[in-house]
Amino acid sequence: MKCRELADFLNDYVSNELPEESRAHFEFHISKCRNCREYMVQYEVVIKAGKIACGEMSDEMPAMPEELIKAVLATRQKI
């Protein structure tokens, strides 16, 4: 397995969907190749970072535009 193929299989590998044989090739390559190991670590960081930064419990607190607040409250009064 080359680095190129390893990059293609990364998605399946991290979600545990890689068939056993490919998995063995994948793990053999990654045990020998520092660059691919680094790439995989970063790929996994990216998945978790997105969840932390934008998930439901994130600290994102931008203000709501004033005209949209008014529009929402105006439609509510028609309920």
Partner: protein, 201 residues
């Protein structure tokens, strides 16, 4: 832009909403609206559609206040209503032409090796994400992903839809959805790398 003020006492806010208190409705919209708008924008892409989504969602939420269970968090409940409204919007929308993502994907030499030597990110993800500026940066870079890729990443990795659900909402095959998610993550890695490399911070 100014930040919204957080809500200290959700339980009494909910009681006021149920009593039909106008000021309580305004407080909810002010406190949660901005973040919900960002959630909607990240899924549907355009500001105009995101505003429609948020407006529909608030209306829907205010109509069904009696279905809100006291032991859930109001913010969680509103978040779900907004995500559902955004998914509805995606389903009914015509697909836009795809933007290219090629320049953000890794490139390879003829012998199959990566062209780039990846410099390590010396901090683990929890450490990186402890800093507000990094959380902000991640949000900014996700928002900068090409439309069709950003949406898949948000639905799968952030909102937690499974591949079938996401494929269904987007009108894509399961396989196309997987490929797109993979490319979106790779592109996001490329966008974050210059900021997270150990030699920059």
């Amino acid at each position: 832009m100014a930040s919204a003020t957080p809500v200290d006492d959700e339980a009494s806010l909910v009681a006021q909403l149920r009593a039909g208190d106008e000021l309580a409705f305004e407080q909810v919209v002010r406190s949660y609206g901005g973040r919900l708008l960002a959630v909607a924008r990240r899924i549907v892409g355009s500001e105009e559609d995101a505003r429609d989504v948020v407006q529909d969602a608030f209306l829907n939420a205010f109509r069904s206040l009696d279905r809100f269970e006291g032991n859930a968090k109001l913010s969680t409940w509103l978040h779900r209503i907004v995500v559902n409204a955004a998914l509805m919007k995606l389903r009914t929308r015509k697909r836009k032409p795809e933007q290219s993502i090629e320049t953000l994907l890794p490139s390879f030499l003829d012998d199959g090796h990566h062209e780039e030597r990846f410099k390590s990110w010396d901090e683990p993800v929890d450490k990186l994400m402890e800093r507000a500026e990094n959380r902000e940066l991640v949000r900014k870079q996700i928002d900068a992903l090409p439309e069709g890729y950003r949406t898949v990443l948000v639905l799968r990795d952030i909102e937690g839809l499974d591949t079938e659900e996401a494929a269904n909402v987007l009108g894509l095959s399961v396989n196309a959805t997987k490929i797109r998610l993979h490319r979106a993550r790779q592109a996001l890695r490329t966008l974050l790398a210059p900021h997270f490399r150990s030699d920059v911070s």
